[in-house]
């Protein structure tokens, strides 16, 4: 039948075919979050822009969208950081070295790193939201002279939930990055800051008229930070958020991720706050 044939051989079907990748490294970042390094079976690099995501398929279990957390200057290794919160992500966390997964992508619009060149850059991450922003930091460090003041503000639930701790220490040791880290709840081992990420914004250096901000974390956090940045003079047009909701097909086909006039899988997940701030206040969306 014509319809059936077009379904099995058309562009949509081809886009739904995953490439096999092999797990070459598995590391727990926190008790429920793992970072996997993956190598393609076919040897072809997977080039990506910071902020893009792939569809990661655990054979026989299911497929989920996961932001790439690796270095865009090392496309030969695909890196994903995944928190175990459901059946598929639990299966991902349980993968071992040598296991295979399917990968589609990369997909989506990433962070506007080019727009930030020549400007001050404010990166604000909450929880696992640091993972989609880590490629930005890699990229900025690789081309540090093209940016003004660069600050990274990271908030986490507690000290044990802090991800990428070795890298945070490494970045903090540089003289050309300002790193601020805070937790919502401290314990006796913690000597750092306690409180919400907005409390750290007064400490970081940026010229509000020439600053670009990139925010990733729970939507409430992003809204609060965006509002605080606006209070400090940063235009909402220069504040970018990652809105990650209901992505299923990743090719603007199924409609699950429609968010007003945008399909988050193709038009996002990174969007200007000015573009989505009203929509983020609509509970029904």
């Amino acid at each position: 039948m014509t319809v059936a044939n077009s379904m099995v051989s058309g562009p949509v079907t081809e886009a739904m075919l995953p490439r096999p990748f092999r797990v070459i490294s598995h590391r727990f970042e926190t008790p429920d979050t793992v970072t996997l390094e993956l190598e393609p079976d076919d040897g072809a690099d997977l080039s990506f822009a910071p902020g893009q995501f792939t569809m990661l398929y655990v054979f026989g279990v299911g497929e989920v969208p996961i932001s790439i957390s690796g270095d865009p200057h090392r496309p030969e290794i695909l890196v994903h950081t995944v928190r175990s919160v459901g059946a598929v992500t639990a299966a991902i966390a349980g993968l071992g070295i040598g296991d295979r997964v399917g990968i589609r992508g990369p997909y989506g619009v990433g962070w506007p790193v080019g727009h930030a060149e020549g400007r001050d850059l404010v990166v604000v991450a909450g929880g696992i939201g640091l993972a989609p922003l880590r490629p930005v930091v890699y990229d900025v460090i690789a081309r540090r002279d093209r940016f003004g003041a660069v600050s990274i503000v990271y908030g986490s639930r507690s000290p044990i939930d802090l991800m990428f701790q070795e890298e945070l220490h490494s970045w903090r040791s540089r003289f050309d990055l300002q790193i601020e880290v805070t937790v919502d709840r401290s314990d006796e081992s913690w000597f750092g800051d306690v409180g919400v990420v907005t409390g750290l914004l007064p400490r970081i250096p940026f010229d509000p008229e020439r600053a670009v901000a990139m925010l990733c974390g729970p939507e409430i956090m992003m809204k609060v930070v965006a509002n605080e940045l606006e209070t400090r003079g940063v235009a909402p047009e220069n504040v970018y958020v990652s809105v990650e909701r209901n992505m299923k097909c990743a090719i603007r086909f199924c409609g699950h991720c429609q968010f007003g006039s945008d399909f988050l899988c193709r038009d996002g997940p990174v969007l200007a706050y000015a573009q989505v701030s009203d929509r983020l206040r609509v509970p029904e969306l």
Partner: protein, 151 residues
């Protein structure tokens, strides 16, 4: 203590007029704390308040049988102390330096007395203290949402 040199970086001092700034300067003094030194203790008399010039102050909760737990940290430019403005003028938390910290201390008793006779000043100071209290309330509400929990 020349407050004009740090005025722009202090949430408190930027709100004050030049006349008010002169008044605050007349009752101010420098405070320098080494890492771990206590600025004030929970339950102590709130007869001073502070603005941080550099370093950090941790507000801590102490309880028997366990080490103090930091509930909030304050950094450069921020106001340390709200209780000094409200009866019974007692600190609700312990404040401890997290690293070498420089502050400016203000005589809270003198400022309260001035506020008794100068209602414009009282309104200005109340505005600063209330704004800080509201900001901390907002932050605490966000913390209580436990946004980063697994879901």
């Amino acid at each position: 203590m020349n407050l004009r040199s740090i005025r722009e970086k202090s949430e408190l001092l930027t709100r004050l007029s030049n006349t008010e700034l002169d008044l605050f300067e007349s009752v101010s003094s420098k405070v320098q704390l080494a890492d771990g030194e206590i600025l004030f203790e929970e339950g102590g008399v709130a007869d001073s308040f502070f603005t941080i010039v550099s370093g950090r102050i941790g507000l801590e909760l102490t309880s028997p049988g366990r080490a103090p737990v930091s509930i909030q940290t304050l950094g450069p430019g921020e106001l340390v102390g709200v209780s000094w403005f409200f009866d019974p003028y007692r600190w609700n938390w312990r404040a401890r330096a997290l690293g070498d910290t420089h502050l400016v201390a203000f005589d809270a008793v003198a400022i309260r007395q001035k506020c008794e006779v100068d209602r414009d000043l009282a309104l200005e100071v109340l505005g600063v203290v209330a704004e800080e209290a509201v900001r901390r309330l907002h932050r605490t509400r966000i913390q209580l949402l436990d946004l980063y929990r697994s879901s």
